[in-house]
């Protein structure tokens, strides 16, 4: 019975901290003007936190007078992910100004009742913009550059969407794409085939490209040359995948019982410096028992360069033998992990990447095995020595 009030408090708390949310798609739509164009446009109201709510829908802006909202009030229940609503666009015979005319379709949540004290309650309104573009006199094109994640030496495509927003047809258009490196140095230029684009029409120009450049971030600037005019768009893109590699680890000047310094060599195959790289290291045995964990200092790894990170291990209580050295590199919200087998001996630590075959020259008996041999040898010597002492005493 005592649980009931607690439950009630929890429910009130949950309700009190309710989130408010609303989404809309598309958040913008483009329509090319045509006299007396009549068109029904749909938009999707998204109930992204799944709650019951009511909302009003209205239009505002210079084109509001040409818009009729079919359902000015809407209700969504918590079971509904979304709701499609419509509005009717009835354009006039003429819009004086060429270019973009805008209206906003606003979906505004009707707020719930407010509470006591000095309270400020929120409501959310979202906007779907309608852009009516009156074609420009003469020739006028806009372009949009589409890029992809390229791979080295593998052909892929840039795409340039050309929209003719002029009143005249474009007789000849071609896209020229300049590719720039991180230092804004132009590296390559590629060109599309030529095409023509009718007024108010759209064309896609595809430009094939096989990157012969190193992995990294690049920038593409597309220029559309059309009937002695031009227009541009630009985008950044990548070739390959950003990834740091742990090339090797080594330990120099080691004596068992002292501090072992691990030099972790990290390679950056990207065309930009990777800042703030650090490693988290863990030494454990085959049973998973952890002996030490260490976080290295951060370092910036130069583009296409290598850099050492240093990890340390106090081996005061460490016995010679085989261990695992786990390295996790952290950089730009990414991680690279590698595990090395390490053999700790009295005067050295050797490391091998897990799974890598050790060459004949490298193949040595583990230190632990060596130690066992030494111990057996000492025990045998001791036994012989004791027998010798024993017989000596008997003789006496």
């Amino acid at each position: 019975m005592k649980l009931k009030p607690i439950l009630l408090i929890i429910i009130i708390f949950v309700l009190a901290s309710q989130t408010y949310a609303l989404g809309i798609a598309p958040s913008s739509s483009d329509v090319i003007f045509e006299p007396r164009l009549e068109k029904t446009i749909q938009i999707k109201v998204i109930n992204n936190v799944h709650k019951d709510f009511d909302a009003v829908v209205y239009a505002e802006g210079t084109l509001a007078e040409y818009i009729t909202i079919e359902n000015p009030t809407i209700s969504l229940s918590k079971d509904q992910d979304s709701k499609i609503i419509s509005y009717r666009l009835n354009l006039p015979k003429k819009l004086k100004k060429q270019g973009i005319h805008e209206a906003k379709i606003v979906v505004r949540e009707i707020p719930k009742k407010t509470k006591g004290g000095t309270t400020i309650t929120t409501a959310v309104a979202i906007v779907s913009k309608l852009k009516v573009i009156v074609p420009y006199k003469g020739k006028y094109a806009e372009i949009k550059l589409f890029v992809t994640n390229f791979k080295q030496n593998k052909e892929s495509n840039f795409a340039v969407e050309v929209i003719n927003l002029g009143t005249q047809d474009i007789l000849e258009a071609k896209a020229v794409i300049d590719i720039y490196g991180p230092l804004n140095n132009k590296l390559e230029t590629i060109t599309s085939d030529k095409t023509s684009v009718k007024s108010k029409d759209k064309e896609i120009l595809t430009v094939k490209w096989t990157p012969r450049l190193g992995s990294g971030s690049y920038h593409a600037v597309a220029t559309l040359l059309y009937d002695d005019l031009n227009t541009k768009d630009e985008k950044s893109f990548t070739i390959g995948k950003l990834k740091l590699d742990i090339v090797s680890i080594s330990v120099t000047g080691f004596k068992l019982g002292g501090i072992a310094k691990f030099d972790i060599l990290v390679e950056n195959d990207w065309n930009m410096e990777i800042p703030g790289v650090y490693a988290e290291t863990t030494v454990k045995d085959d049973n998973g028992k952890i002996y030490t964990q260490f976080k290295t200092a951060s370092a910036d790894i130069p583009d296409f360069g290598k850099q050492e990170l240093n990890a340390y291990w106090d081996t005061a209580k460490v016995i010679p033998g085989a261990y695992k050295f786990d390295i996790i590199l952290n950089y730009l919200n990414q991680k690279t992990e590698k595990v090395f087998d390490i053999i700790v001996e009295y005067d050295k630590i050797t490391a091998t990447l897990v799974g890598k075959v050790i060459s004949a020259e490298e193949e040595e008996k583990p230190a632990l095995v060596k130690s066992v041999y030494i111990l057996i040898f000492l025990v045998v010597i001791l036994i012989i020595f004791n027998i010798f002492i024993y017989f000596k005493k008997i003789r006496k």
Partner: protein
Amino acid sequence: MNNTKAFAGIGILFLSLIVLSQFSNSSLSCNVVTTCSYTDIFHISDETNAHAELANNSNYNYKICCNDTDGLDIGNSCSGYYNTLLHLSNQTNAHAELNNESNYNFDICISSTDSFFNCSYESGCSSYETCIASVSGSTNAHVGNCTDYTTKICCNITANNTAPTIIANATSPINVYTNTDWKLNLTVTDPDSEDTITAYAQFYVNGTSSGSLHSLVVTNGTNTNVANLLSSTFNKGATLIAEFWAGDATENTTKYNTTEVTVLNSPPSQVILSYPENDDQFFTNRTPRFNWTAATDADNDQLTYQIQVSLNPDVSGPLTNETGVSNEYYIQPLELDFAIYYWKVRANDSEEYGEWSDIWNFTLVPSVSIIVTQDTINFGTMTQFEVNDTTNNQPAPFELENDGNTEANISVNSTSLWTSSLAQLNTSYYQFKADNSTESNSFDWVNSQIIWANMSDFYKSIIGTLNHTDSKDLAEIDIKVEVASDEPPVAKSAVLTFQAEES
């Protein structure tokens, strides 16, 4: 039991009919004539109670004359294919004896080069036999026409057998896969139209016989599917041969082999797309996970997939062209720009590709979606001149998250909070500003309201360009309130509206 007997009876009757049918068409015709236009077998001195002479003698006028209505060759030679009808005591003016006697040395024979005779002594010739003549006893006998004596010489002629011929053989299909049976068709002809023709086939997979011998009775001259090798008996790369021949129960053809075929790789099945749904006009995920159902492969080969995503309806000039995808999905690594996308997928079994899937499309549209992580700020009961704000997190500020797929501008307005005439909207008694949240750099600091601004009943910009990437899409909205000197001590409330639109 009765049924069994009945069936047995019917079977015997049926067999008898078959046997009879073999002989009922006996085409041999023999008569006693004085002028023989056909084959003269031997001569007799009279139609009854006569002596006999060999055909190469000419002392008697009555001739036993035979012919075959089917045109089979008939002779009187006692070499080659022949039957001895009688022994004579002499070349002419002779007594006769049956051929199982051995007193006389002159033989009367009936022969053929293209058929064989079956002759016997009967008391009466059956319907499938032809009577040649009759004799009075077993030796030292007289000869007469067929009505004269009770011992008749009955013969029947059967044409020599001709082996069937396989005039056509074909296997199908031309390209054999592990999910198709391999069929053998034969066309066999036999000039002996009465013969029952049986075709035989034995399949070999990789040189080893597969299954038992197939046999099938076929129609003369008709192309017949004789046997099938089931697809379950062979794998990709296997070599297939069929050995075949035909027989007519008397004679078989030689054995032949078909041309060897190799079982080809079966391409994977056509992929069926599942997500993003076809023709989705309101698709908002800019890094979608393209899903499809797994293709199948008759050879059970491991499959990978190729996906192409393009702006063109025929998926030409693809922006994404990934091969070797080992899962039944592909996650778009970089954000797609807003456009209509067309995509298709096909499977590969390391030897060849299957058919492309249907082309699906979706329209990636910009979406603005705002989440306010709490619906209310409660400053509690406030007294005259008291000032409070949310910068110290007591009470906590509003937090705004951009849950859409594009950058958003946020503006804010509010209803009036205070009743005091001094503290109406657009005064410092009720203010707002934007601030960093735990996800710093989520918005354009320069173009946002980061110092206190008076709240208004019309929308005022508060955040410029709020990011939409998950790690940087959260901003704080601080509220500051101050109680005017003449504010009555009653509960106050206002409704603050955040309006979000695409940047």
